[in-house]
Symmetry: C2
Subunit: 739 residues, 2 copies
Amino acid sequence: MKHYLKRIAMCLSVCTGFSLGTVAMAEDGYEMWLRYQPITDKATLKAYQSSLREVMVAGDSETANAIRKELTLGLSGLLAREIKAINLEKSQTTVAKNSLLVGTPATSTAIANLNLGERLSALGDEGFIIEQTQINKRRTLVVVANTDVGALYGSFHLLRLLQTQSSIDTLSVASKPKLDYRVINHWDNLNRLVERGYAGLSLWDWGSLPHYKSKRYEDYARINASLGINGAVINNVNADPRILSEQFLEKVAALADVFRPYGIKVYVSIYWNAPRAFGVVDSGDPLDPRVQAWWNERANIIYKHIPDFGGFLIKANSEGEPGPQDYNRTHADGANMMARALKPHNGVVFWRAFVYSPDIGDRFRGAYDEFVPLDGQFDENVIVQIKNGPIDFQPREPYSPLFTGLKKTNMMMEFQVTQEYFGFHTHLAYQGPLFEEALKTDTLMNGQGSTLGKVLDGTLTPMTRTGMAGVVNPGTDRNWTGHPFVQSSWYSFGRMAWDWELGADEIAEEWLRQTYTNNSAFVDPVKTIMMFSREAGVNYRDPLGLTHLFSQGDHYGPAPWTEDAPRFDWTALYYHRASADGLGFDRTKTGSNAVAQYPEALAKIYGDLELVPEDMLLWFHHVPWDHKMKSGRTLWVELVHKYSEGVDQVREMRRVWDEQEGNIDQERFLEVKALLAVQEFEAIRWRDSCLLYFQTYSKRPIPADYEQPKHTLEEYKKMARTLYVPEPWHPASSSRVLK
Amino acid sequence: MKHYLKRIAMCLSVCTGFSLGTVAMAEDGYEMWLRYQPITDKATLKAYQSSLREVMVAGDSETANAIRKELTLGLSGLLAREIKAINLEKSQTTVAKNSLLVGTPATSTAIANLNLGERLSALGDEGFIIEQTQINKRRTLVVVANTDVGALYGSFHLLRLLQTQSSIDTLSVASKPKLDYRVINHWDNLNRLVERGYAGLSLWDWGSLPHYKSKRYEDYARINASLGINGAVINNVNADPRILSEQFLEKVAALADVFRPYGIKVYVSIYWNAPRAFGVVDSGDPLDPRVQAWWNERANIIYKHIPDFGGFLIKANSEGEPGPQDYNRTHADGANMMARALKPHNGVVFWRAFVYSPDIGDRFRGAYDEFVPLDGQFDENVIVQIKNGPIDFQPREPYSPLFTGLKKTNMMMEFQVTQEYFGFHTHLAYQGPLFEEALKTDTLMNGQGSTLGKVLDGTLTPMTRTGMAGVVNPGTDRNWTGHPFVQSSWYSFGRMAWDWELGADEIAEEWLRQTYTNNSAFVDPVKTIMMFSREAGVNYRDPLGLTHLFSQGDHYGPAPWTEDAPRFDWTALYYHRASADGLGFDRTKTGSNAVAQYPEALAKIYGDLELVPEDMLLWFHHVPWDHKMKSGRTLWVELVHKYSEGVDQVREMRRVWDEQEGNIDQERFLEVKALLAVQEFEAIRWRDSCLLYFQTYSKRPIPADYEQPKHTLEEYKKMARTLYVPEPWHPASSSRVLK
């Protein structure tokens, strides 16, 4: 709520000449993009003030209350005057000129009288209309929806338009989400450690729940609702069975109570062998009636605590987690058993396809080979949740061929917002371009224009339920995400989950304007560096289709030299296949033939050394060191070039950022400035480590016109011991026996 | 800095009638006791305003700058007007009437001219004088010290007087610390997990250091400096050797740079076998010249990075940590080797006496038996750091007899602020009374009045260096400490480290006034519950001298039933010795005779069933269930009575707190209210678990006029699986091999 005070302080300073002197105001990123700072453009401010004289919200639900609260907060901040969103009585049909009216035909006669008909009904349960209209011949801005949650989303959208100083004079927006399930995944253990979390401990303080409901819980809901996110899986997919105990369910229910007004349902990740862990049934066989009965009863217990509970997310037979295959049953058998326990309560199962057995020749093939044979066997309330790429959230991956392999199965895409492979909380790496690249990949499955987005939204592949999941892993750090720019990826995930056709570029601009300032002297150059920040991350880590060169376990720094591990597919060598004769993984017919998992037209391109996009080259081909690239350089020199380009891009990011001093608050300016210094150090470390290592195979020099390595390979290997974050993989095994 | 805005908002509201409406201002505890809210008592405000018209600080050191910054911030907030502490030129000898002048005779001629002579020189390097005086016949308030750090402490003390609305009209204060080393211990692992930390991750973000210096680092320094704390051991005593690498030392140096202006030196905990971990010397023998050379060189490297580095804290041959005994050398051999490496740089060694071998009959005896034979063998720059009690920070312990056993050795006391045994972040348990009880324990070593405080400050036992350490374990939680009232224990530790004669009662009042409000309708009753909160914690956990009934490993909930463990001294049975014939550990002549480690006069009291204070009874005696207590009740019924009293006290705390609604901000009111509900639940769980368990031995009923247990013993045992916090004991063993 600090923005209030800032606004007042500013007003006071203007009105009375009282100055704050040298004492700066703290800008710590807590408010994310919901900062509601006073509009700085005077004409715009005046226009808004005269268009929004009265604010009325219909309805008496908790959600209607949330809308009133948000508009009061937001408009008072933005318009720099006290504005109170008041209750619009259902029967009221006249309003003052230049009012804002929010509601549904059911909650307000004035809105029903607008007779929006088919235009409105086409928007479903979550869509909204915002437009300038007239009520009793008086100019009125309305936010209309079929439900209170739709009206909430519309209200947040209006606030976004105001925050970005868009004109509202002739506003007419109709919007509905393209996907049904827009879900945040948290990898939070019950002991509050967050797997792949780089922003503090888990937001959920189990020790003080259900009694104490931290203000953060509500702010978390506001942040998500502002993007239209409608679900949160609150615990780690490497799941602790205790989440299903009554003791924990009471706490989960308290969170659900806070989230509900904001349209967010709670889901939990479950441990497949929970019936065994609870000491009730000595089996996890999904066809065993005792196991089924246990889950049915557990579902009943859950819904007693949380009547609108969302459902389960399940990681089964994946990286050592138990699952139905342990009992010689299929993923479909397992998912359907869960689905049937939830069905009577309208719950849903998100069943993860992140599987790869150590004994297959190519990890790339794993999910496709296991799931395609099961196509059509999953119950209607199961959605298979598939990571965007075939491996694991790498800086660049081709899309997972499972998305075009399944034809009769509900699917949703899982993206990663937390920067597991992008430098944790210390690197600036806006993920919008990665999300956009994935969603707009042309699969060619039904000819050109067969984008993945059209698969996901059901246009190309019929589905009863659609969705998108984002592994965000926010934590108790004051700014939620560690690096302030990870906020932009969260924002981008949410906006694209609503509408995958949005561009990363426009989303970055929205985010910058709301989060920092509308000043284009800041927005334009910083948007530019955001837009290439992901590519920079690819370049200095694993360009040209290299992948998985990360230090094992923590995934922070470079370790292309990892050639020994308990499993070959946990080494880096497995992925890069460097040898004296070249580099890259042959996935064509002469190799693992994983390309054949793609639609034929695309397989032809990826499988052809001449046609494959160079940024995917080494994903699909083992290429001689002297192979000529489009640039005219050899593969080896191109590799040097790309790694060097990555470092140069980080330097350019630093240069641009350093020019921003004074354009934004000093606190956030200095933080990002310092983190970019860390990033340059790390980018050099990546470049040098990888080039020196690959040089041991290529036996070729780094051309003199490129910056030479700062240290030797041995020195870089020593530097690798730099794990500064907790890495809690699994819950303590002791917590998995509750009897 | 938010208080500024609040003040302005308040002023604005008063001056212009502008109201903040329903939007509350966030009070999240971040500012601790340095809130600097406007003085609410109008007469006092007026008096302060007219006494503090100009504020001038002499000196151009970083510390002088810090004083100017703090006084600007503090006085502008308190006096609700813009006040800028300006530079006082050294040569300036006249000042405006009613000024505040801060400086030393060396930095200001005006101050030198006061000729404070012996009065000032007696105060040493850290003391200060604050008084109303006259300069050129003009009324002036001065803060004078021999050093800038002394002036800083004086400035913070003045701000404390103002925050608590003390009269400054005839002020004359002279103060100096009674102990030399006033040190915070952090048990922070390098992966940012905090052992026994209940307030988030480590404050030190190694990943972004040394480049990014979070604002928190400076605020941490301000918080400590305001109490006169002058050292911080920044990492866990279960130490990770990487802290000594150049890579980390650069980061540690960045912290030292932030802390230095505030008079705080950085210390690190070291891993005894570091020379082996670094792969240089295959030995840890302190008499091996190669080992000595390694440490000498490492000290040189450290001091190159941090010229005023404080020294080492060492946990050796304790709970599995390596140490000199592994090489058949003594603690003195080990400590002296370290001391000699640090001596040329004026560094110091804190050598912990927390040792207990599994093969001694009574853990109580461990430290005394190992260390007393070494008395007189420690180098001058070694201080033996001894926990307040003989076991481990239990809710009530007698004092560690080592304090009176050592006669020719520097000693400091180690207290625990973090609530390892007091309910983590969910219970209200002000530790001031525990600290006071320990410090004012009469050891009788030189007759009556031989308090431990007089041992510690060197009055009774000659020492070249004195000190006190507090294991605080603050974290990234917004309010630093988890439960807001843990702040009060931190505050109390700091104040008593400065002056052990201060009372817990007056300290609680100081803290409440600064942290919440000067309104006595709040301060008086809340101080009352603070003052009995520790005793309540004793009563519902382990009254009458019971101890160590905690769940193993996490130490949160009750587990008096622990009778099996790898070591007998890790069971609860080891400590309570319940049997059919009674309860308690016989430490008299008929038992382990640990009482004989105390001065004879005290040993007589503790060893006598009739003389021993009842709150220590079961520490020293095995007592029959039907033993008549002073109350007339049997031991068994007294136990029931005490456990029940603990629960009743929590209920009283709830009742009193609930009456405070409106007296303070709603946000902190609701948080503590909710946490007290958790505490009542847990207190009942403790009472019932313990009584039901001891009943299996006593075979006696819980009298009907006491509340009966809510669940069965078996049910309570099941409830014990409630670990909600990370419990990182040791650093990963892999991090201990760096070669």
